[in-house]
Symmetry: C2
Subunit: 230 residues, 2 copies
């Protein structure tokens, strides 16, 4: 089902190089839907029927085990999610829920796999995307295993700052409790970690962060491109 977002989707690295005929065929098979906040789009363990493309809003990817839950990532427009499950035709490993009101395109996994077999450029783009995702998760594992929660927070702030343009004052785009979960800690611990970064020049007011001493913070965080660069 064509849609005003069609060109933005086309510009995604995943779709930009493929033949137009194949792109149109994917779009035709797809449909776009609006979801209210806090709707569970995907449940881990379910078969992966659709490749999802987030057009507007935001989506939380999370996982559960034994009554515990953790945020794995936050998806922001415009990007796809759960590509790996789609191409492998395997069950989802993560659940997904909308954080805010979101507009999402659903492309049947079957069609993705068909077009993949016909279009070499698309295949190449999928490989690139998967390899990048893989490397992202490896970086995340290194972050988790090699750093304390204070160090993870410090580096998270530096990454967020860079995403916001690098100025000393910037804003978290995520609720703190979700930040905590992404970083593998509790909300209470995050609160204390923010305090623990005060000696390194970090001031927190609500979601607004001010870094008064960039050098000090970087000296403590020791950011590393092989962990922190996306």
């Amino acid at each position: 089902m064509p849609d005003s977002y069609s060109q933005d989707i086309r510009d995604l690295h995943l779709f930009s190089e493929m033949e137009d005929q194949h792109f149109q065929s994917l779009i035709r098979a797809a449909y776009v839907q609006n979801f209210p906040p806090q709707i569970e789009l995907i449940t881990e363990g379910d078969p992966s029927d659709f490749l999802h493309v987030l057009l507007t809003g935001s989506v939380d990817l999370f996982s559960s085990w034994n009554d515990r839950e953790t945020s794995m990532a936050t998806v922001r427009p415009i990007s796809t999610f759960i590509l790996a499950a789609t191409v492998r035709d395997a069950p989802y490993l993560m659940s997904a829920r909308t954080i805010e009101k979101s507009r999402i395109m659903l492309i049947p996994s079957q069609n993705v796999r068909e077009v993949f077999d016909q279009d070499g450029q698309f295949a190449r783009a999928i490989v690139d995307e998967l390899a990048q995702c893989y490397r992202g998760v490896i970086k995340n594992t290194k972050d988790l295993k090699l750093r304390t929660s204070l160090e993870r927070l410090a580096n998270y702030l530096l990454r967020q700052q860079a995403r916001c343009g690098g100025a000393p004052v910037f804003t978290l785009d995520t609720e703190k409790r979700r930040v905590a979960s992404v970083l593998g800690m509790t909300s209470e611990n995050l609160s204390r970690a923010f305090k623990g970064l005060r000696p390194y020049g970090v001031c927190v007011t609500g979601r607004q962060i001010t870094i008064t001493n960039q050098q000090d913070l970087e000296g403590f965080a020791k950011p590393n491109p092989l962990i922190d660069q996306r």
Copy 2:
């Protein structure tokens, strides 16, 4: 450089479906080398010049930051490693060192990327492999974030048991200190964790593990296919 292992490599899922001409071209460009134990094959951050195929022996993939080090995975024959860095032509995110005497085939990354562009079956296999690797790392992240170290060990033992055929007595194929690092804990803590599993019917003698009460252990470990099934 052709080699007696050529057929075994050909049988790897990654290479099994590709055209013979392309396979031969990869093999011709490659060379095989023997390494003694404890040799650093790859250093994280270096450019990824070769796709590695472990033929015999074993290799530890590890990462370092700020004088800390952690084992990310153990590679066993016959399998490839650092495929993602090769296809993206990006620096290695992990270092690799031989654990024991190992025989390794090195295929120039350049050739892999060239053949990838020519051979659709090979491209398809790379996608499968990458998607599987990605899912493996996601499972690992869930293990790390959702479980305590005792639970991780319990599930590790169950997975190892399954790999050994499922009998109540089996052997760890890895030094305990490496097991500890893979599970994200210290050796000391692993030692205590083994003790902590005694009430659930786990007996440890050197590297030999005896599970005297399968039900109890599984009841505690709560293994989950979305985390533990490989």
